[in-house]
Structures are given as structure tokens and as C-alpha cells.
């Protein structure tokens, strides 16, 4: 131990010495001078002559300079010295060729920066584990990525959605799991106010709230920063347990970091809640959505938080929770124990389904139930929408930037080889003067390490800027605090190792080749001809590198081409509605405390005021925009159609105001659209999409038929009065026609109609305690404008604020933005891929140009001789061109099979074309060939201008 401490001490002292070497050196010089003086004094006293005295003193000291060197050696690191010499030498030689140095550093900065940027995102999106205890033990039950409320489904038959009673049962009895918790499958916007400021003048703020089970935090193993987390006792009784845990960021930003917040009261949607705790900064919850959760509240408070009737009754038929569990330590490590947990869960799900379906289950159904399974999905990283959306793209991009860096390395290696060739005589001289071969290699590696170190520092800066832009894109303009562009330790280490590997990659080959030069002993003056004439083998490496570049850049071009065409296909397809001059705005009446029965008046007012905005052609309201990632859907029963057993009768629903079809630009193929004349007092009507009409009424008899909807609040019957064109209403990649049913917003009952036999109305005989119908709300404003819709945004906001300043417009965007958000992933990956492949192509072109120019310079003599002997210019041109044509053919030949293999990997990302799309392949080859030929053509033309007299004069 002490010897270790001692060496640390010595090391530190030496480092310090190293830093003030100059000062110490002069100090020891003075000391040695004083030594001599003292000795001379003594000698003089002993009777020597001054000359003799000095000579004797110096002799005894063993030489003045030698003594100084002893001290110096003792002070510093002797093994450091040659390295410093290398470094100094490298600095000098790089400064002498600023062009090469700049290009090399910029190339490296781009390459390393791109890698760092993508890795920063990968690290955060794919690699970061939840900041909780033993995250590897966490599993999600089924697919928990999307969220919503579903009705009329089987347990486990529909992703990972579960009803309240089933989740509750598992929480109470977690079987082989350490614990099982549940949470609302989606977080919802709520208004938060200070309970103390009771006056409504205090502007309430919008926050995102998540419902969680009482054991949610305990199962996750997450502790609170202040106060406590939500406990099982909070969630014990539906309707009670009005407590909230707030996120660190919400606490900082909206509660002004109040250290005494715990125990204070806030209101959520007007209901008072006690704040019981603040979470740690790194805790975002088990599921991360685009907008991070601000508040966690017990599931028992669902009616207040979601502002919907209670879902907390047994057999409600409403599936709105996701479930997750913590595996036992054995199950987290052993496959058989994991399988046991899986089996147990499947048993529970099957029991749940049987209990749901009641007494009589046909043997056929029983067999189906026996096959129901809810997979346990490892969730050490939690569940994240961004990961599921962008994970694959990021992996592809990582591979792409890796390839770009490889191409950059090949380029630099080539430049170094060329430099090395011109430095042959210098190296030969150094070897002849006794420099070791290892020292020459080390010198060359020092150069590449220095270049890549500088390049990676610049690259880190570039990456920071790029990552910021990427995060802004990925989070769609929402202030996402779960991702940060700042590099952390992992990113730093990554960049460091990338820089190091890069330096080795582009540095080792040239270094070894330099060292070998010594064998040829080219100290004579004909170094140039030796390289030029007999150098066929010396051109092997540059050619190989260029071939690899051709191959790799073609690969990237093909990838970029496929993705660009995919994006084009997605954008250019027929969406069924007009994609210009349409502005969409999201609003939420319930957040502004409108009761459902007040909605129709508000809607009327909105329609009137908004149509008065100048430049607005028509206005409509609807539940959802013509296209969105969320949907309101249900089974429908068209009168006169008998569904086959198990036939999928789901239709997407939308409730719309008059002029909706006109405003959205959806054409009516038959009958009439929904109009303002369809009011609460007139006949209930519906418009269906072409696909519904064709599917259920193939003989064209749809109009005039009735249709009922599987949701009680809008059951109908509705008489079909029109048929609208099919539209893409959800995922733009979905090619099947979407079944749509449109009903008039104004015809939806203000109160949920009593259903005979439902327990809610029979239990209490209270008069007119009828439940208000939340389906009366609209959620979207559509404006068709004459000019640029983006210019109407301010007018729209002003008009809405004039009606009610508290009515929140959550999101205003044009229909183009709406579509482009749905294909954001495709836009991002194809744009970046194109950028990177062009960068790669540029690098390859520069590389080839460099190699070819260099070749021409090397072969000046040869070309001169050929021309002097009467060779045709065309022959010379062809000789040079042929060389790169061969490289091109080899590169393309090797690249094609590689591309076919690689594009299979991105098949899932493509839309409307095959992975070996001939158009893309042919264009990519054409582009690569054109660039390669161009970058050879220039040096080749120069070769034909070689003046034989000049070329030969050197000999």
C-alpha cells in the first residue's frame, strides 16, 4: 500500500515537474554553478591555480551538462521524451501541409460527429435503463406501446390492454412475481390549479397526468425525492385517495421548487388533491410518452383525472390499463423459471376470460381460450413510444454513419499513402540514420492519432448541434426533457474509442508501408521513378481502398434511394381528402369545464365566429381530424347484413358538424353529406365510407338502410344518407381501405340513453340522475382557407380567445404537418440517409480524384515517354480511364450482392416498392459511375497535356 502511495507521490511530482520544466532546469543550473563555485573556493584554498581549481572541480562533478541531464532525467519521464518529440515533429509536419490537415480534420470531424450524434440518441432511446432498482427484472404484459380505452374485446386478445378488475386481482395475488402493478395506458391532459387561490382568475395550467396502481412505485422500486410515493392504501377504494406525486421537472417548473410542497393541496380538473411526494430527476415512469408525465395519481381517482364516468367496476368491459411485473430473481436469470411465470400469467388470463364470459362457454370457444397468451416483454428500458417508432431507424442510421466513417478512413489512408510516397526519401534518411522501424511506425501513428483527436473534439461539437436538432425533430416540437443532446460518459467513451479505432484504421496500413520502404533503400535520387515505374504493387493499396469506397458509397446510395422513394410513395398516395389549404386545431372543452350539455351552444358559436375570419372558406368541427394516429372506433351492425362468425365489424367513427366533408375535401360519391340541417330534432343520419357500402351492401343498396353502433352513447339507429370516398384515416402505410362511419355531432344525445338491464340505472331510483354524454364534445376544428392556412393561425387563436379565453387550443397545425407527423420517421431517416450517402459519395469522389491525380503525377515520366514515342492522346486517356473503370466494375460487382443482402435488413421500412427496386439500383449505379468517371476524367485530361520534353528533362 505504502509503495503504491509512494509511486503515486512520485508520479504527481514528476507531472508537476513536467509542467514547470523550464523553471526547474534553470534552478538546477544555478545549483550546479554554486556547487562548482564552492568546490573552486576549496581548491583555491588548498593552493591550486584558478585554472587547475576549476578543472578539478568539473572533473569531480563528472561534467556540468551531464550533471544537468541526470537531474532532468530524474525529474521527468524519460519514456515520454520520444513521444513528445514525435508530437512536436507531427505538429511541424502538419503545419507544413495545411490543406491536407484541414481536409483530414474536417473529414474526421464529420465522420466522428455523425457517429457520436446517432450514438447519443441510441444511448438514450435504446440503451438507457430505467433508473430503478434491478431494472432487468421488469417485464411488460403484452404490447404496451400504444394507449387508449377499448371496449368489447377479449382479455389479452388486443395488445396489452386490461380492465381494472383483472389488474386489481393480479396486484393482490402476484403469483410467482415479486409484484405486479398497473397504470393507465395513456396519460391525459389535466388542468392543475393552486387550491389556495380559489378564485378562477388564477390561470390554471395544463399538465400531463398518469393513473397508477397503489403498488406501482413499490414494484418499480422507485423512491421519492421528497415525501412519499403512492401507496396501496391510496388506491384501495374507487373514488377516494386524492393524492398526487409530481415529477421533478413539474416541481421545478410549475411549483417553483417549493421545498414545502409535500402536504400542500392542488386541484386537478377542479378536484382538490394532496401532493404527497416529488420524484427524482431521472424518474420518468415505466412508460415514456412524447410528453413526459407531470403527475401520478392513484387509479382510484380515474373519474376525476380522465373526466369520464367510472371504469372502476367489475365487468365494465372497458380495457384501459397496462400491466407490468417484477420477475423473481430466478425468473430474471433462468429460462425455465421465466417460462413458469409466463405459464402462470396465461392461466390467469384464461381464468379472467372465462369469468368474463360467464356460465356457458362452447367447447369451440373453450379451445380458443386455451390458446390465449399474453407474452412477457422484457422491459428493463421501460416502454417508450419513441423507442418503438425510431428504434429501427436509429439502428439503420448507426450502420450508415459507421459506413460513412469507414469511407472517410479509406480516404485518409489514401492521402497518407500519397504523402508517405512523397516523404519516402525523408523516411529512408531517417532509417539510414538509425531510426528504428518501430519509431517510424510510431511517428506515423502519432500523426493519425493527433488528427483524429482534433477531429473528434470538433466532432463532439458538431454532434451536440446535430443531436439537438434531431431531438427537436423526434419529439415533434414538444419540449422533451427525457432526452438531452449533452454527451454523457458513455458517449464520451464511445467517441474516444471511435477516434482511436479510426486512427488505427487509417494509420496502420500507411505506417507499415512506410516502414517497409527502408528495405528498398531508396536513398538514391530516383525515388520517383522507382515508385512510378515498378510501383504496380505500390498502387495496390490505394486501388483497394478506392474500390471499397465505390462499393460502400453505392450501398449507401441504394439505401437512400429506396428510402427516398418510400417517402415519395407515402406522400404521393391518394389520401382521399384534400391536403392543401386546411388548418386543424385541437381543443378540449372538458378542460375548460364545459359540461357536455353546454357543448352544442359552444359549437354553434365557434362555427359562426370562425367562418367570419377573412380568408376562411368553410369551417367544421369533428372528433378527430381526417387523419390522425388516434381513433374512435367500434363494432357496427348494418341492418340487413348478417356477419359471419368472428367477422371483424369494426369501423372507425367520427362525429362531425355540417360542412365537414366540404371542409376536409372528402367527396361524396352518392347521396348527400351531413349538413347543418341535421339537428337533434331531425332524423338521425349517417354517412359511411365506400368500403363499408361495398362490403355490406354490395348491390348498391346502402342508402336508406339503418346502422347501429356498438357504443351505448351513440347506439343509433342511424339512417345511411350518403357514401363518402375512402380516406386514409390512420397509418399512411396501411393500404387496406379504412371503414369509416360519420354521424352528425349535433344529433348525439346529451345524456347517455338508458339501457334496459344495465345495473347503473336500476340500483338507484333517484330521478333524473342521468349521466351526461361525453361523446357530445368535439375535439378538432377544421378551417378550409383560400390562402396559406398557416397565415390564419393568429386569427383563429384570436377568434377562439374572444369566445372564451379559457378554452385551450392544444395544438394548431396544417394538414400537411399532420400527415408529415405521421410519416415523421420516414422523413427523418430518408433525409439523413440521403445526406449521409451524398457525403459518402463526395468523400469517395475526393478519394478517387486524389489517387488518380497522384497516379498521373507519378507516371508523368512514363506518359511523357509514351507520347514522345508517338502514342495517341486517346490511347493515353483510355489508359488512365481504364484503370478506374476496372475499379468501378469491381466495386459495383462486389457492392451489388452486398446491397441485396443489406436492403433485406430495411425491408420493413419500405413502402410501395421492393427491396431490390430496379429503378433505385440502376440510378445508384449510374450516379456512382458518373461521379467516378468525372473524378478520373479531370486527372486523365491533365495526363494528355504532359509535355514530353518537360517530363523527360528530370531524368
Amino acid at each position: 500500500m505504502t509503495s503504491f502511495r509512494k509511486s503515486v507521490h512520485v508520479f504527481v511530482a514528476r507531472v508537476l515537474n513536467f509542467c514547470r520544466e523550464r523553471q526547474l532546469d534553470s534552478d538546477s543550473t544555478r545549483e550546479l554553478e554554486s556547487h562548482l563555485q564552492l568546490h573552486i573556493d576549496d581548491n583555491l584554498r588548498a593552493g591550486m591555480s584558478p585554472k587547475e581549481a576549476r578543472r578539478e572541480a568539473l572533473l569531480k562533478l563528472g561534467g556540468f551538462e551531464q550533471a544537468r541531464q541526470y537531474c532532468r532525467d530524474q525529474r521527468a519521464f524519460p519514456f515520454f521524451e520520444p513521444f513528445l518529440q514525435d508530437l512536436r515533429f507531427t505538429f511541424r509536419s502538419l503545419r507544413k501541409s495545411p490543406g491536407f490537415t484541414t481536409v483530414a480534420i474536417l473529414t474526421l470531424a464529420l465522420g466522428i460527429g455523425a457517429n457520436t450524434a446517432i450514438f447519443t440518441l441510441i444511448n438514450q432511446v435504446l440503451l438507457r435503463k430505467l433508473a430503478v432498482r434491478d431494472p432487468q427484472q421488469l417485464v411488460a404484459f403484452g404490447d404496451s406501446i400504444f394507449g387508449g380505452i377499448a371496449g368489447g374485446i377479449d382479455l389479452g386478445g388486443f395488445g396489452g390492454y386490461f380492465p381494472w378488475d383483472f389488474a386489481w386481482q393480479l396486484e393482490e395475488n402476484p403469483g410467482p412475481f415479486q409484484g405486479i402493478g398497473a397504470y393507465g395506458s395513456f396519460s391525459s391532459k389535466v388542468t392543475v390549479g393552486q387550491a389556495t387561490a380559489a378564485s378562477s382568475a388564477e390561470p390554471s395550467l395544463l399538465a400531463t397526468a398518469s393513473l397508477v396502481s397503489g403498488n406501482y412505485f413499490a414494484v418499480l422500486g422507485a423512491q421519492a425525492l421528497l415525501g412519499r410515493t403512492i401507496l396501496p392504501s391510496d388506491d384501495a377504494t374507487p373514488g377516494s385517495g386524492a393524492v398526487a406525486v409530481v415529477s421533478y421537472h413539474f416541481w421545478r417548473q410549475s411549483l417553483s421548487s417549493d421545498p414545502a410542497i409535500v402536504g400542500k393541496s392542488i386541484t386537478i380538473n377542479g378536484v382538490p388533491f394532496d401532493v404527497v411526494g416529488v420524484m427524482h430527476e431521472a424518474f420518468y415512469g415505466f412508460k415514456q410518452e412524447l410528453e413526459p408525465t407531470d403527475l401520478w395519481t392513484p387509479i382510484s381517482m380515474q373519474p376525476a383525472v380522465l373526466q369520464q364516468p367510472t371504469m372502476l367496476v367489475p365487468h365494465s368491459g372497458l380495457y384501459f390499463l397496462h400491466i407490468f411485473g417484477r420477475l423473481s430473481p430466478q425468473a430474471a436469470t433462468s429460462k425455465s423459471a421465466f417460462a413458469e411465470s409466463q405459464n402462470w400469467l396465461n392461466q390467469q388470463v384464461r381464468l379472467g376470460i372465462r369469468a368474463n364470459e360467464g356460465g356457458s362457454i362452447t367447447p369451440e370457444r373453450e379451445r380458443e381460450i386455451e390458446h390465449v397468451s399474453v407474452p412477457l416483454v422484457p422491459a428493463a428500458h421501460g416502454v417508450s413510444l419513441i423507442r418503438s417508432q425510431y428504434g429501427d431507424s436509429l439502428k439503420i442510421l448507426m450502420a450508415v454513419v459507421g459506413v460513412v466513417l469507414l469511407i472517410a478512413c479509406a480516404n485518409l489512408a489514401n492521402s497518407l499513402l500519397a504523402r508517405g510516397a512523397t516523404r519516402q526519401r525523408e523516411i529512408a534518411t531517417r532509417l539510414a540514420l538509425g531510426s528504428s522501424r518501430a519509431r517510424v511506425v510510431r511517428q506515423s501513428l502519432t500523426e493519425t492519432l493527433l488528427l483524429s483527436a482534433v477531429g473528434s473534439v470538433l466532432g463532439l461539437g458538431l454532434a451536440f448541434a446535430a443531436t439537438r436538432a434531431l431531438i427537436a425533430f423526434v419529439s415533434q416540437g414538444k419540449a422533451d426533457i427525457t432526452m438531452s443532446p449533452a454527451p454523457n460518459l458513455a458517449v464520451m467513451l464511445f467517441t474516444l474509442s471511435v477516434a482511436f479505432v479510426t486512427a488505427l484504421l487509417f494509420g496502420v496500413a500507411p505506417a507499415v508501408i512506410f516502414a517497409r520502404i527502408g528495405h528498398r533503400g531508396s536513398l538514391n535520387s530516383s525515388a520517383r521513378t522507382a515508385q512510378g515505374g515498378g510501383g504496380r504493387s505500390s498502387r495496390f493499396w490505394p486501388k483497394t481502398l478506392v474500390t471499397a469506397q465505390v462499393m460502400l458509397s453505392m450501398l449507401l446510395l441504394i439505401g437512400a434511394g429506396l428510402l427516398l422513394r418510400t417517402l415519395r410513395n407515402l406522400q404521393d398516395q391518394d389520401y382521399g381528402f384534400e391536403r392543401t389549404h386546411l388548418l386543424l386545431a385541437n381543443f378540449d372543452e372538458s378542460l375548460a369545464r364545459y359540461q357536455p350539455h353546454q357543448a352544442p351552444a359552444l359549437h354553434q358559436l365557434l362555427l359562426e365566429r370562425l367562418s367570419a375570419i377573412p380568408g376562411v372558406r368553410s369551417v367544421a368541427l369533428s372528433a378527430t381530424p381526417p387523419i390522425s394516429d388516434g381513433a374512435w372506433s367500434s363494432n357496427i351492425s348494418p341492418a340487413g347484413y348478417t356477419p359471419a362468425p368472428k367477422e371483424n365489424m369494426v369501423s372507425i367513427l367520427n362525429r362531425v358538424s355540417g360542412k365537414y366533408f366540404e371542409t376536409a375535401g372528402i367527396s361524396i360519391l352518392a347521396g348527400r353529406p351531413i349538413t347543418a340541417a341535421d339537428t337533434a330534432s331531425s332524423l338521425k343520419v349517417a354517412v359511411v365510407s365506400e368500403s363499408i357500402a361495398k362490403r355490406y351492401y354490395p348491390l348498391g343498396q346502402a342508402i336508406g338502410r339503418n346502422l347501429t353502433i356498438g357504443i351505448d352513447s351513440v347506439r343509433g339507429p342511424w339512417q345511411i344518407v350518403g357514401i363518402a370516398r375512402d380516406t386514409k384515416s390512420g397509418n399512411p402505410r396501411n393500404t387496406d381501405p379504412v371503414r369509416m362511419t360519420y354521424i352528425p355531432l349535433a344529433q348525439i344525445d346529451l345524456f347517455v340513453p338508458d339501457q334496459p338491464g344495465t345495473p347503473t340505472s336500476t340500483a338507484n331510483a333517484r330521478p333524473i340522475a342521468r349521466e351526461e354524454n361525453h361523446d357530445c364534445y368535439a375535439g378538432t376544428i377544421l378551417l378550409r382557407t383560400t390562402g396559406d392556412p398557416a397565415k390564419t393561425v393568429a386569427d383563429l387563436r384570436a377568434a377562439v380567445a374572444a369566445i372564451d379565453p379559457n378554452l385551450p387550443l392544444l395544438d394548431v397545425k396544417t394538414i400537411q404537418d399532420q400527415v408529415s407527423n405521421l410519416i415523421a420517421n420516414d422523413e427523418l431517416i430518408s433525409a439523413l440517409m440521403t445526406l449521409f450517402s451524398l457525403l459518402a459519395l463526395l468523400l469517395a469522389a475526393i478519394g478517387l480524384y486524389g489517387v488518380m491525380s497522384y497516379n498521373v503525377v507519378q507516371r508523368t515520366t512514363e506518359i511523357g515517354v509514351r507520347i514522345a514515342l508517338g502514342a495517341q492522346l486517346r490511347t493515353v486517356l483510355w489508359m488512365i480511364l481504364r484503370e478506374s473503370l476496372i475499379l468501378l466494375v469491381i466495386g459495383v460487382g462486389l457492392g451489388l450482392p452486398l446491397a441485396v443482402a443489406a436492403t433485406r435488413g430495411i425491408r420493413n421500412q419500405l413502402f410501395g416498392l421492393s427491396a431490390i427496386d430496379p429503378v433505385t439500383f440502376v440510378s445508384a449505379i449510374a450516379v456512382v459511375s458518373a461521379i467516378i468517371l468525372l473524378s478520373t476524367w479531370l486527372p486523365a485530361r491533365r495526363a494528355t497535356r504532359v509535355d514530353p520534353v518537360v517530363a523527360l528533362r528530370y531524368e
Binding site: 512520485v10 550546479l32 556547487h35 564552492l38 576549496d42 561534467g63 537531474c71
Partner: protein, 117 residues
Amino acid sequence: MGPSKLDLLQGTLDVMVLQTLETMGSLHGYGIARRIEQVSGNQVLLNQGTIYASLVRLQQRGWISAEWGMSENHRKAKFYSITKGGRKQLAEDAAYWLRLSGVMGRVLAMQEGGGKR
């Protein structure tokens, strides 16, 4: 062979310097060199320059400290003195050298005694 010989020399020189400073108190480099030569009865042919390497080394380990001052004949010189850590080290090293020389003496004596064939 070369380096191990040098190590031994280094080790001995460091001990000699520490011992000199321990007995003589504060002293400059030249003084230390002269003192060692005197004590060894001029048997050691000392390269005085190596004393300075030794001084740097000992200073780095924190066993001696240095300060510029005036010599008895009014010359500026750097004076060294032993530190607490240096005394501890000297005690250890002295014990080691005494043990080693004792063992060496006994071993060499045994060879002489048992050397008859």
C-alpha cells in the same frame, strides 16, 4: 546486468545522502558530496553529479526538503535537510543495509571456511 548494478548504487547513494543529512543537519550538495568522500576515507570514487540526481529523487519522495541560503563563505547555495518521512525511511533502509551486510559477511565467511576441497 547493467541496470541492476545501477539500482544498487542508487540505493546506496540515497541512504548515504539521507544519513549525511541526518547527522550533519542542513547541508548543500557540495557539502554532502565532500562529507561522503571524507567519511568513506576517499574509498568511493564519487561522481558528484549523481548526488544531484539523488537529491532530486529524494525530494520527489518527500524525504528531504530544499531551500536556497548562504554558505559559510557567503556563496549562494541550495541547502537540503531531512524530513520526518526521510528519517523514517532512513531507519528502515539502515536496518536493511545492516542486515544485508551482516548476512553478506556471514555468507562470505562460510564460503571461505567451507571452501577447502
